[in-house]
């Protein structure tokens, strides 16, 4: 006899502070999960990049080699390499295990706001304040980028990569999506300077946060507005936003020290998670579990759902 499908669990939001990592690297500019969510990277303003186990709170390795503060980092799909970009205008490819700099890509004219690997970690895409996105080839030894996407009129604040698309948010108020498969560029005008963009996990929508303290969910194909999420405060900082692990909620940092959760469909505020007194500068959402990392000041907080019990007593 057939058992009925178990009723899908109501999505739980991470609201229990599990751990606070004192990173000790100045202000944490960005915090990023690795591909499977077991580790995280913190980009410090003291020119270092650190690899952590956020659940245990252990520091695994420090990557130093940047000449200025590190602004963004990303890990490759196989966890073998990292890339990071910073205020020294350089994009650095790291070897995870040895901690050595594998390549340093120079060519940006301004500080590099955001870096991303492509799906196979063969290309690093870096968005810079010089209003260009540069595609660096990790395979060849040539120092020039494969291609420079310089359609933006102002600095690039956010770059996300899917298997065949590059999504870029720019301060000129446009979200540009370069579709390599179709060979087309879609430019959606939002008006306010874009601070963060991301794909939804189903790849159908794009979430756009802008400096008018509004998050918008746009249909990827048509550019139509699917939802609008307000209530947080984002006026001057480049704050991160993301979708929860199952695309049920929209998550955003806020300048008032909280993390806001909205229901994606209804657009209603689900939770305003108080993190601390300062500005929540960056956040990262676990790819599969309701686990959230937030960065405030020089520390990183790890949040889990209420029902979460630490496994193995590791705390």
């Amino acid at each position: 006899m057939a058992f009925p499908e178990p009723k899908p669990r109501a999505p739980e939001l991470p609201q229990k502070r599990l751990k606070t990592l004192d990173c000790g690297q100045g202000a944490v500019r960005a915090v990023r999960f690795n591909v499977d969510g077991n580790y995280c990277l913190t980009c410090g303003s003291d020119k270092t990049l650190k690899l952590w186990n956020p659940l245990r709170g252990t520091l695994l390795r420090t990557y130093s080699g940047h000449g200025y503060e590190v602004l963004d980092a990303a890990g490759s799909f196989d966890n073998s390499s990292l890339c990071s970009g910073g205020g020294d205008k350089a994009v650095v490819l790291w070897d995870v295990a040895s901690g050595q700099v594998v390549r340093k890509f120079r060519g940006h004219a301004g500080k590099v706001n955001t870096v991303q690997f492509n799906e196979e970690a063969t290309v690093i895409l870096s968005g810079s304040i010089d209003s260009s996105i540069r595609c660096w080839d990790c395979r060849s030894r040539r120092p020039e980028p494969v291609q420079t996407l310089d359609e933006a009129r102002d600095g690039i604040s956010s770059v996300k990569v899917s298997d065949h698309e590059v999504l870029a948010g720019s301060v000129d108020g446009r979200v540009r999506r370069y579709d390599l498969r179709m060979g087309q560029l879609f430019s959606d005008y939002v008006g306010s300077p874009i601070t963060c963009t991301c794909f939804s996990r189903d790849g159908q929508c794009t979430l756009v946060s802008s400096l008018d303290s509004t998050l918008r969910l746009l249909d990827k194909d048509t550019g139509e507005l699917l939802g609008e999420y307000t209530g947080h405060k984002n006026r001057e900082y480049k704050l991160d936003c993301c979708l929860s692990e199952r695309d049920t909620h929209v998550v955003s940092c806020s300048e008032d020290g909280k993390v806001f959760f909205w229901d994606l469909v209804e657009g209603a505020l689900a939770l305003a998670l108080p993190v601390g007194p300062g500005v929540v500068q960056s956040l990262a959402y676990h790819p599969t579990e309701p686990c959230l990392l937030t960065a405030m000041g020089g520390s990183v907080q790890c949040w889990r759902e209420e029902a979460y019990e630490a496994e193995g007593g590791t705390g």
Binding site: D163, G183, Q184, S187, Y189, G191, E224, L225
Partner: protein, 803 residues
């Protein structure tokens, strides 16, 4: 000397190290195989065979001049304190051990120097001997003579010693033969002994005259063998003893007391040395074993020797006549065999001084204008040619140089040859013919232009100056009239991009050719504005001058560029993200979608596609990025947003499809027009317009919006109704709203709508917002005014504005 009375075993000479006599029953030792033989130096150290230099073996410290300790320069010794210890370095201090050894250039042991070694007497005798040997029935028959050559005793200089019956003449060794000549009887004439015998051997090789093979003497020892020999060619060659130090044959060491056998051995040695000489082709390989001696080196710093090798000692010259010496001295160099110096010097060439330049001479060549001889300018031609100092040719008579073969043949009454081809031109391909033709035309054109210019100059100089505006016109008119002749041959189109313009340009050229003064004005487009016409006039004139004169010449030499290199143009992306204002209003209304989206063709790099594992969407294109077009750099229209119809399809499209989320948006967002108040004061035109409006109606902004909403509503509602009725509101005045179309497109569905216009008409739903909305409309309208909005009613604004 001791050898003279020797006999028996004493005659034998043992040479080398004798083998040890074998013991009884002892097996002879195996010779050491070649590969095991090693070379060791005097200290027993192994010497590696190395190469040709350093005698084939390694030298120094790893082939350097240093030692293991490196270069240790001699330490500085103060010359003040120990003056006595100061050593003067001689050449030996810079020599290696090898140089000081027996075969080096500065042997320590006593050896016979060249001066005292026995040697062949002189070159003449040598030559004679060679000739005799060559012509003798038995080749090499002179060997016997060589055998009995007296070995000169150098160490024991006893002139009276007789060796083998050849007595040295009594007296000094020098000039002894001269003295012999003195004893000749007066009445007996002998063939002169010392005349260089003429070489009668036929030249049976293919070498050049007086060819000699590589002379190792010259190659190895530089000029040592090439000392200028005063006496070699002269009849008194006996003075060789003084001059001839370079030519020394062999290394016959004439030690006194040499036995016959020894001498014989020496000769055999020479022969055997010759046998393995430098090469089979060399005739002479003498002196490759010559010893370098210190005496060949200068030990004193001095000037170059004066050239006669006498170092100022002139005594032997007294024996010669002064003339001969002079003659010999004139020619420094080797005299070829069979040649002798001319007795009479060549008469020297007379050198004429350069002509005196006139005082006012300027070194610039003035090209006289070439004027083609035609009927009109015969006078000019005549004047020109007269000034050039040439006689004027009649047109009928040709110079003989101006005739070609066929014409000359004609004159002579020949029948032309009936060959298949009469001219080289027939062989040329069609293309080449065209090129030739073009070049010909170009030269003709140049000539014509020159003619025209000279005519113009003469004309302008002859008559009073015309009025200034006339000058410019006439000048290009002149040039054009000359230049346009060629343009019909070369179908050059400077305005090929704009066919209309090109047509006008061609018409202009035709008119110009016909000499019409108002050619330009006639061919210009009358519908153009004055400014455009003026610009085009300039362009045409310039193009006609430039292209007509240069094109035909240049085009025969240049090919077209692959890419147009036009500095007037700049590359811009083909598709621009169009107007932001529309989008802003759309964003304000949350009309995301078509209105806020721009789609471009974008070419990813091929490598990027490969890295992304995506097929190249444009496999045939080499473009990367956005496609780019060239636009005029300085055109005003680049900076204006041209009212293009591109956005109207978007509007139509959006009008067909109503945004679905509109209802929910509206319900959720009551404060849609929040921001419009801030943007009201965007520019002065809006203020001006609002002022104008406030004159018509009561002031609306100063008072609260809730107060005067009624009046506004009245004024606004009328045109809205008109729009609603579907009447074309082009001619409407102040009330017509262009942006209504936009809103209609946004709000209205294709079937029917009551969303926006009915809302506006009734004004019921958002009463309290009415004033701000009005401002918003106004705002959008004014931006339209500035940017020439894409809305279809754009033209009505101008008329609007005019009112």
């Amino acid at each position: 000397m001791a050898a003279l009375d020797s006999d028996g075993d004493e005659d034998l000479v043992s040479y080398g190290t004798g083998l040890e006599p074998l013991e009884e029953g002892e097996r002879p030792k195996k010779p050491i195989p070649l590969q095991d033989q090693t070379v060791r130096d005097e200290k027993g150290r192994y010497k590696r065979f190395h190469g040709a230099f350093s005698g084939g073996f390694s030298a120094g410290y790893f082939n350097t001049v240093g030692s293991k300790e490196g270069w240790t320069p001699s330490s500085f010794v103060s010359s003040r304190q120990n003056r006595a210890d100061r050593s003067v370095l001689g050449p030996e201090d810079f020599m290696d051990e090898e140089d000081l050894s027996e075969f080096g250039i500065a042997p320590k042991a006593i050896v016979t120097t060249d001066d005292f070694a026995s040697k062949t007497k002189d070159r003449i005798r040598e030559k004679a001997r060679q000739l005799a040997a060559a012509t003798a029935p038995i080749p090499g028959a002179t060997l016997l003579d060589d055998l009995i050559t007296p070995a000169k005793d150098s160490l024991v200089t006893d002139p009276g010693v007789k060796i083998y019956g050849c007595a040295l003449p009594p007296g000094g060794s020098e000039g002894s033969e001269e003295e012999d000549d003195d004893y000749l009887p007066e009445n007996v004439t002998f063939a002169p002994k010392d005349v260089t015998p003429v070489d009668f051997t036929p030249k049976d090789n293919v070498h050049g005259l007086a060819y000699k093979g590589l002379d190792p003497h010259q190659a190895l020892f530089g000029t040592s063998g090439e000392h200028f020999n005063l006496f070699s060619g002269g009849p008194e060659g006996a003075n060789n003893l003084l001059g001839d130090i370079g030519v020394n044959k062999g290394r016959k060491l004439g030690i006194s007391g040499q036995t016959y056998a020894k001498t014989c051995y020496a000769e055999c040695e020479i022969l055997s040395w010759k046998a393995f000489g430098v090469g089979a082709l060399e005739e002479e390989d003498d002196d490759i074993y010559a010893t370098e001696t210190l005496s060949k080196y200068d030990t004193v710093l001095k000037d170059e020797e004066p050239g006669d090798g006498l170092y100022g000692w002139t005594a032997p010259r007294q024996y010669k006549s002064q003339k001969e010496t002079e003659k010999d001295l004139r020619y420094v160099g080797r005299i070829l065999d069979g040649f002798s110096l001319a007795s009479k010097p060549l008469s020297s060439k007379k050198i004429y001084p350069p002509p005196e330049l006139p005082r006012d001479y300027r070194p610039v060549h003035y090209f006289r204008p070439v004027v083609a001889a035609t009927s009109e300018n015969s006078h000019l031609l005549q004047v020109l040619s007269e000034s050039a100092g040439k006689p004027v040719h009649d047109h009928g008579t040709h110079s003989r140089h101006q005739l070609n073969a066929s014409k000359r043949g004609e004159l002579l009454g020949e029948t032309p040859t009936q060959g298949a081809t009469t001219s080289v031109l027939e062989f040329l391909s069609q293309k080449d013919k065209e090129r030739l033709k073009e070049m010909k035309q170009a030269t003709e054109l140049k000539a014509a232009q020159l003619k025209a210019r000279s005519l113009a100059q003469s004309a302008s100089s002859s008559r009073p100056q015309p009025s200034p505006p006339d000058v410019g016109h006439r000048s290009w008119h002149m040039v054009l009239s000359a230049g346009t002749a060629a343009t019909r041959a070369s179908d050059f189109k400077p305005f090929a991009k704009d066919p209309e313009k090109q047509k006008r340009y061609e018409a202009f050229l035709v008119n110009m050719k016909q000499g019409q003064r108002d050619a330009l004005e006639r061919c210009l487009d009358p519908s153009m504005t004055e400014w455009e016409r003026g610009r085009e006039r300039d362009e045409f004139a310039r193009a006609a001058v430039l292209y007509a004169s240069s094109h035909s010449t240049l085009s025969s030499r240049f090919t077209h560029a692959k890419e147009e290199d036009d500095s007037e143009q700049v590359e811009v992306p083909r598709d621009q993200e169009n107007d932001v204002n529309d989008k802003q209003s759309a964003v304000k209304m949350k009309m995301f979608g078509k209105l806020t989206r721009d789609t471009f063709e974008w070419h990813p790099d091929k490598l990027l596609c490969k890295r992304f594992n995506v097929p190249d969407p444009y496999p045939d294109s080499t473009l990367v990025g956005l496609p780019r077009v060239k636009r005029d750099k300085y055109s005003v229209f680049n900076f204006l947003t041209i009212p293009e119809t591109a956005s109207s399809p978007a509007a139509q499209a959006s009008s067909e499809k109503v945004p679905q989320r509109q209802g929910s948006d509206k319900s959720r967002k009551p404060s849609r027009w929040d921001t419009s108040k801030q943007e009201k004061k965007e520019d002065s035109i809006s203020e001006f317009l609002s002022l104008a409006r406030s004159k018509v109606g009561p002031p609306k902004q100063e008072s609260g919006p809730s107060v005067n909403e009624e009046e506004e509503h009245v004024t606004e509602s009328l045109p809205d109704k008109v729009v609603n009725k579907g009447v074309d509101s082009q001619t409407e005045g102040e009330g017509s709203r262009p942006s209504m179309d936009l809103f209609k497109a946004i709000f209205a569905s294709s079937s029917d709508e009551k969303s926006s216009s009915s809302e506006d008409e009734q004004g019921d739903s958002e009463d309290d917002q009415e004033g701000t909305r009005e401002a918003d409309f106004q705002n959008s309208r004014e931006t339209d005014l500035v940017e020439t909005s894409p809305v279809a009613q754009g033209m009505s604004y101008i008329s609007d504005f005019g009112i």
